[in-house]
Symmetry: D2
Subunit: 303 residues, 4 copies
Amino acid sequence: MDLQSIVAEIAAEMADRPDRGEVATYIPQLARVDPARFGLAVALPDGTVHAAGDADLPFSVQSISKVFTLAIALGRFGDDLWMRVGREPSGQPFNSILQLETERGRPRNPFINAGAIVVTDAILAGHQPRELLGEILQFVRSAAGDEEIHINKSVAASEEATGHRNRALAEFIAAHDNLIHEPDYVLGTYFHQCAIDMTCRQLARAGLFLTNAEGTPSLVGPARVRRINALMMTCGHYDASGDFAYRVGLPGKSGVGGGILMVVPRRAAIAVWSPGLNAAGNSHLGTVAAEILTRRTGWSVFG
Amino acid sequence: MDLQSIVAEIAAEMADRPDRGEVATYIPQLARVDPARFGLAVALPDGTVHAAGDADLPFSVQSISKVFTLAIALGRFGDDLWMRVGREPSGQPFNSILQLETERGRPRNPFINAGAIVVTDAILAGHQPRELLGEILQFVRSAAGDEEIHINKSVAASEEATGHRNRALAEFIAAHDNLIHEPDYVLGTYFHQCAIDMTCRQLARAGLFLTNAEGTPSLVGPARVRRINALMMTCGHYDASGDFAYRVGLPGKSGVGGGILMVVPRRAAIAVWSPGLNAAGNSHLGTVAAEILTRRTGWSVFG
Amino acid sequence: MDLQSIVAEIAAEMADRPDRGEVATYIPQLARVDPARFGLAVALPDGTVHAAGDADLPFSVQSISKVFTLAIALGRFGDDLWMRVGREPSGQPFNSILQLETERGRPRNPFINAGAIVVTDAILAGHQPRELLGEILQFVRSAAGDEEIHINKSVAASEEATGHRNRALAEFIAAHDNLIHEPDYVLGTYFHQCAIDMTCRQLARAGLFLTNAEGTPSLVGPARVRRINALMMTCGHYDASGDFAYRVGLPGKSGVGGGILMVVPRRAAIAVWSPGLNAAGNSHLGTVAAEILTRRTGWSVFG
Amino acid sequence: MDLQSIVAEIAAEMADRPDRGEVATYIPQLARVDPARFGLAVALPDGTVHAAGDADLPFSVQSISKVFTLAIALGRFGDDLWMRVGREPSGQPFNSILQLETERGRPRNPFINAGAIVVTDAILAGHQPRELLGEILQFVRSAAGDEEIHINKSVAASEEATGHRNRALAEFIAAHDNLIHEPDYVLGTYFHQCAIDMTCRQLARAGLFLTNAEGTPSLVGPARVRRINALMMTCGHYDASGDFAYRVGLPGKSGVGGGILMVVPRRAAIAVWSPGLNAAGNSHLGTVAAEILTRRTGWSVFG
């Protein structure tokens, strides 16, 4: 079966599934998203995109933005970044504060909230928040080849209004002298970066630079691409990263908005979106669809 | 450069390195291994093995045996195995007992000690220990195509004599009713399976079934092979699994004897051995050599 | 109201209470104890005992024995004992293993299981188990002035048969080189010391040496008595020690058999027994009765 | 020896000790206090105060203020307070956040920072911060019979400027819906209550209401006094509460400014001050002096 048919078939199967997980409810903008939504897009290095379902509806990428800020930070600081944040799976929920105490303010990896806050703090150095947000947007737009991508200010404002847990993380990191800027200053930027809206089509295209395939945007060097993929594989789904690797077999990064970005090295970038989440906070049908997709395409990196 | 040259060159480079880590000292059989040893072997699906250094000296595979017992257990129980053990990175050292308490006796994954003890308990069902050890040996010998592979009884005896930490794990699991057999009965088998001696050449060949490449032994189905590789990627190096994925980019499993088994899906199986360990208990030069090898061959699964 | 009347009245009130907690079920000898039992005895320095209810029925003292072994250990080793065990409340359940890992095999205090195992190991030095058990019995008999007190061998045998959790603790401590003897050897003694049977009357009398009152047996010096009482106050009820201090206001030590020994410095020793336990594993009605007793007598040490 | 002589003698002994601990350095106002300072005051129910050393120099009471706010909160809410905060020793440092995560935002007790923040939040209800601070001051002044006691605004301002760790605690509690007011609003009050300056003489007198002795101010009922004392005994010195009970044998509450308030039920209230701290953050010589004082007076509550 050809790729377009596989993509369309999966979208059709997902549309009918009764098990859709639970939509995030901590901010109204996420809570009111229709759980019946499902989108899937596969972008190939030649620019083709195979899409189906709600692949052209924008959703809040949330934690998927951590991939882009990590790419910017590695580009700017290289391995020095690892002095401030680790690169090991945490074995804990995305917003856990336990290891910050036992490990003295150094987050386990850049894909849990604490780690992403440190990454944002790092790339804020020498910038105004507005400037940095412009740079992040510019990075994503270049990656996707789409100037329409923007930040949803209403989402950012809601995040700020309800962000006690993230503020606790930032204050705790600051207490261990691992923030350069004031917590609220960093979080203002962090909440905005998480509030980027993208469609599956845009997100899949934005992920192409991570394939290291010829013809894709060269935004970071090939060795760094491999490393970002490694981090997505071991840490991209919080304390369900092992399960995602086991079932799907691709580097991936999920967001609480229900999106997942996946990379098939040298071959494709995939974006899937379904707003209902599983118990670990990752898109339920997004994961199911990804599992089916890699089975039908034989795209697992594990043989 | 051709593969044999790359392998030989790396072995030569490693021979000269002054940084060799620390040899394990908890049993005399490991403590007296010469830290100057280094072996490397790459087995290809066609049966060719490219080897260099001490690739024909036997060493104690220790935790690498967990890959083979997991393969047997998945073959026997399929996904039912996951009712008794998880498949997530633990974020803790290999012999940690913390999560056993907070997670009520269910180990995080089959590659930490607690998880491997549960796996051994599972496959003991309906067998005498001697019988099961025969089956494990037979599995490894079939995989490697080498009937010479054997268990080092002196190592097994030393492990039993010093095994307080593993006994604590087994007793704790039993206290949560997650062992079928008595702890000492399971540990007797466990210590023997860890005491298998292999050379790099034998181990690399024994890993070929995990490549899913044509012509390699078909000991478990291709879907299960991918899943074992996924577990090796996310959990194969304990709390340094993220670092190994980041630096090397291959599924791998290390042992305290200084060996590492790696899989290049569809292409090759690699065994490296250097007895000095890094802080996380994984072979120091083995990891360094693996990092160089994937860089020079372009074999990282991450592009 | 005079003391005998207070004691009788409380016993009568307790007999009628419908809320009786849950009897321990992990060994049959405890599981089959009648939850309707309630006994109370108050021993005064002059030898008088005020008793009521089932104060002359023997029950398994279990962890209350830790007070007597601690007294023996302090007598033998003095403050050197604290090199091997701490004297802080653990904030964890009685059988938790978490802190043994983070604190490298040194239990938080002598009244949690791990700490009591270390104490027993310490006083085993230079003794056969049978000899040490004889010494412990002799200590308790001298304290109580009653040669009838004995060990219930059937309880000890059941404890040994189901002791996985305690074996895990002992093996873990041994792994950190904080046991002199083999774990099973220590546990054999430990399970027997816990299996002492006593009546409330015997136990109250046995506690008189902890009052530092004139005329009571002088088994340890007055400074050590104060220290044992301090440990009973801060650590005697596991992770409900704070609650016991808050409600009752006396140093106390509970056992899973439903007994509690309490000390009113310079004035009295109290034993209460009701086999039903609360969520923290302490006698439910025993605690309730103790609270009423200190309120009616004004015996709280806190004014 | 009479009490005045004992007090004077201890002060003289402490003046000569070379071991003085380390003065807190996180704010300049504490960092520049002279480590040679030592004050001791014992207040008796009849109004007599025996004082020596620097007993009339004011110091920052810091966490000792938690005793007074707890008294106010218990007076206002009674046992309902325990729905929001526990009464168990935490077994963790004063500023630990670990248990807030595992126990869903409910602090272990009112004497660790997290618990005291919840208490302050509770008593803020229906008040402006200025008003509440007035009430707290009024409580302390009534207790001490001294209208001179005041808040050191410069200390409060410094606390606010460096309060990342406390902000992390407050934000985390708020994330679990266990704060009524905004974290910064509560912390503003909290930092001011900690910044009360008192002399040993004032503090000892302010503690008299906790003795339940006739003739002392009746600010809370006798049952509540006992309960506050119980909490001071089990939780008053953070993760060194067991050690303080063991060595001193009195309910006590320490502050990072080097002060300790102690209660001898029905007999006396004691304040000691020496700015150098031990490893657990409690006054080093203050604890030493307290130990000597209870030994010489026989005032331990443990016999």
